[in-house]
């Protein structure tokens, strides 16, 4: 794993020592090269994980997310070029350093063997994200957004620290390679419940679960583009990955404990999708759609069947790429009109036809069109939920319907219809923007051809 971590650390001196003209080129190129290394990790021959050292390992569960993380860094750097163009070179380098630091902590989180290392790196990702949101966001609301983000996550993860320490004391080790072979802990009923809640709350807040999701619309909307991309694509998946890992230890109490959270997910799915139908703010719409998709993932992980985990993994990767793509598209609108309101930049098909192609592909992916991996993920999750209880088909089916509605609403509002008068003079699409969208869309489409690698442990 050091072959991934050391180059990422070395990206920081690369950025700082770059010629002022070459800041963007150097960091983008080298981070792209690093992402090629993670492709090595996708080669799993059997169910066993690829243990690379005492502290880091790679698993069919973590390698798709590692791939996503490293793929996203060059995309984030490419997307940030415009809004940082007026800043001093030191500030540009500082911003890129924050992104690289975040990438480093994320790699270490996904590759960690010891759950305590996972926890420390999980918390460590908060600091660069906080700095990106509050320092480089655009509106005064970003201050509140940063505080909500930090304190919601920390409030959820303090009990996780206690729970992990308790499990360490009672089972002797927190190593993920050892834990599946351990005998189950037996605790009195209420203690079991509290332990389960303590472990899961952190990840529920991070996912986010419907009742604890208040930080997400704020943080996603106020963050600059790279912040939104990384939040939507990776940081939410930290919660899902953590949940998948920690349920190994929590097995007996999980079945009755999950009922409230499953209900919250089902209901939250419908609620947040419906809110999307009434949004005027484009980024807010995409943020709420993230909550909706993640509710599906939570449901799949909590039901704990093989197809559920496979569907959750696929949906996480698919949603990561799609949501990040949608945020990039929304940002391209924002950079032209300096406003996130949807109706102020409408009818863009006439002005920017290639961008419409990307909007179309993103929207089709978001509404889970076959044969994209979005559909495969959602289908697996729907089947898992149906096997758990037949009634859930009403909710998941209704969710698919509403998702399609708001996605098409977003597509039609921004692309179709008549132009407004004031956007006749917007700049045409940059090559950088086109390549950014292409680099999002290509993995999405290619994975539709071979979704096996994102199906996690059970393909």
């Amino acid at each position: 794993m050091l072959k991934l971590i050391i180059p990422t650390i070395m990206l920081i001196p690369t950025t700082w020592y770059s010629n002022n003209k070459m800041i963007w080129i150097n960091s983008t190129t080298h981070s792209l090269l690093i992402s090629l290394i993670t492709l090595l990790f996708l080669n799993h021959n059997d169910e066993n994980s690829m243990t690379t050292s005492l502290n880091f390992f790679s698993d069919p569960l973590s390698s798709p997310l590692l791939m996503l993380t490293t793929w996203l860094l060059p995309l984030m750097i490419m997307a940030s070029q415009h809004h940082l163009s007026k800043e001093t070179h030191t500030r540009k380098k500082l911003y890129i350093t924050m992104l690289i630091l975040l990438q480093l902590f994320l790699i270490m989180t996904f590759a960690a063997t010891e759950l305590m290392m996972f926890y420390i790196m999980f918390e460590a990702t908060l600091i660069p994200t906080l700095i990106i949101i509050t320092r480089w966001g655009n509106q005064p609301e970003r201050l509140n957004a940063g505080l909500y983000f930090l304190f919601y996550t920390l409030f959820g993860s303090m009990p996780l620290l206690i729970a992990l320490t308790y499990i360490h004391n009672s089972t002797g080790s927190l190593n993920l390679l050892l834990l599946p072979h351990w005998t189950q802990m037996s605790l009195p009923p209420w203690s079991n419940t509290l332990l389960w809640t303590a472990c899961m709350t952190a990840f529920m807040v991070k996912m986010p679960l419907y009742g604890l999701h208040l930080w997400l619309p704020k943080a996603h909307v106020e963050a600059p583009i790279a912040g939104s991309m990384v939040l939507a694509a990776i940081l939410l998946k930290l919660g899902g990955y953590g949940m998948m890992r920690i349920t190994i230890v929590l097995n007996p109490p999980t079945t009755p404990m999950t009922y409230p959270f499953l209900i919250l997910s089902l209901w939250g799915m419908i609620m947040t999708s419906s809110i999307c139908l009434r949004q005027t703010d484009l980024k807010s719409l995409i943020a709420y759609s993230s909550v909706s998709h993640m509710a599906l993932v939570i449901m799949a992980i909590l039901i704990q069947t093989p197809w559920g985990f496979a569907g959750a993994m696929t949906l996480m990767v698919a949603h990561g790429l799609t949501s990040s793509l949608l945020f990039c598209l929304a940002n391209s609108n924002y950079e032209r009109v300096h406003n996130r309101t949807m109706i102020l930049a409408r009818g863009l098909q006439v002005l920017l036809p290639l961008m419409t192609t990307w909007w179309l592909l993103a929207s089709l992916a978001n509404l889970a069109l076959p044969p994209t991996i979005n559909l495969i993920g959602e289908l697996f999750v729907m089947m898992t939920a149906f096997s758990w209880s037949n009634v859930t088909i009403i909710f998941t089916g209704l969710n698919m319907l509403i998702t399609a509605s708001y996605t098409l609403f977003m597509l039609i509002t921004t692309q179709r219809g008549t132009l407004t008068h004031h956007i006749n003079s917007i700049k045409p699409t940059f090559t950088r923007e086109n390549s950014l969208m292409l680099m999002h869309v290509i993995p999405l489409l290619l994975l539709s051809l071979n979704p096996k690698m994102t199906l996690g442990l059970f393909h």
Binding site: I131, T134, R135, G146, M158, I162, T165
Partner: protein, 347 residues
């Protein structure tokens, strides 16, 4: 100042603490504490304005009360056991009185009221000495007396201190008061594992002293006393603005910075002794502390130009303050967490 005085006062301060830490005779320990307090008085009174006088008087009165309580405990011990050795304190009233006295010396709840007011009235460097050096002597007594002290008093004051330190600091704009409440909270954490593992208490104290020294050193450079004075610090010295933010994040206990290490070890030690709910509430109360540090970080680093700022710029003077060992302190305050595997030596 007279060179003799300039030498004598810190020397007395130093030797007072050393006397307390190195003796086993109760009278000498008490004498060391008194020397410490008396030597600190002129340091607190460096500027002779009425506010400093008030602060110094409050300090003197509370510390004397604590010393007298300690003397009472010593004498009860003397009359009931007939000897002056520190490690043989069997009489329960003696131990309870000694616990109360030491808590008052440290400034834990419910005897914390003097800390914000004293810290506010004195210059920044004196505040630094008050909040770091002055903790060493009482903590060393607690370390030696650890199995004998009254656990109920200790645990109550721990819980109260962490809560008071968190909530008290929320409404403050003066940096010295904020550091005072942070000290109350951290002392609460320090005494939390006194009952279970006194060596971890020393770890917590040392990292707390490290972080507080770093913070105060950076604040003295431009004599920042309020949050609003921090707001345009990035203009004068952007590196210090960044460094203050990192140190404050470390004080708040965020991984992967050093400040997380003592909290983590304390939680581990408490849980090894089957105390689970207490660390849970302690960690959540520590988030209150983090909130007002975040407020400071917001005004220092996270709201720089081109975002608008309503703070009046001050005159830019060339800073003549010495910053001893600041780079070393900074690196130690932020990057020490990877050394966590050596903590088993504390057992």
């Amino acid at each position: 100042m007279n060179p003799t005085t300039l030498f004598a006062i810190p020397m007395t301060l130093f030797s007072g603490t050393m006397l307390t830490m190195l003796s086993s005779h109760w009278l000498l320990i008490w004498a060391g504490l008194e020397m410490n307090m008396l030597a600190l008085i002129p340091i607190l009174m460096k500027k002779t304005n009425p506010r400093s006088t008030e602060a110094t008087t409050k300090y003197f009165l509370t510390q004397t009360t604590a010393s007298m309580l300690l003397m009472m405990a010593i004498l009860i011990n003397m009359t009931s056991s007939g000897q002056w050795t520190i490690t043989n304190m069997d009489n329960p009233s003696a131990t309870s009185l000694a616990t109360l006295a030491l808590i008052m010396k440290l400034g834990l709840s419910p005897f914390h009221f003097w800390i914000p007011e004293v810290t506010q009235g004195i210059p920044l460097t004196s505040g630094m000495i008050l909040l770091t050096w002055q903790k060493l002597a009482p903590i060393s007594i607690m370390f030696q007396l650890a199995p004998l002290l009254n656990p109920y008093i200790i645990l109550t004051s721990t819980a109260l201190s962490i809560l008071v330190g968190g909530w008290g600091g929320l409404n403050q704009t003066q940096l010295r008061k904020i550091m005072a409440y942070s000290s109350i909270s951290h002392m609460g954490w320090t005494t939390a594992i006194l009952m279970y593992s006194p060596s971890t208490m020393i770890l917590n104290l040392s990292i707390y002293i490290l972080l507080t020294l770093t913070t105060f050193s950076m604040l003295t450079i431009y004599a920042n006393h309020t949050i609003s004075s921090l707001a345009l610090l990035w203009n004068k010295n952007p590196l210090i603005a960044l460094a203050i933010s990192l140190t404050l994040l470390s004080l708040g206990g965020l991984p992967p910075l050093t400040g997380f290490l003592p909290k983590w070890i304390i939680i581990q030690e408490m849980m090894k002794n089957n105390s689970i709910i207490t660390p849970l509430f302690m960690t959540i109360a520590a988030l209150l502390n983090l909130y007002f540090y975040m407020r400071l970080i917001y005004s220092t680093t996270l709201t720089m130009l081109p975002t608008t700022n309503n703070i009046k710029t001050k005159w830019r003077f060339e800073s003549t303050k010495q910053t001893l060992l600041l780079p070393t302190l900074l690196i130690l305050s932020t990057f020490l967490l990877p050394l966590a595997p050596i903590t088993p030596i504390l057992n």
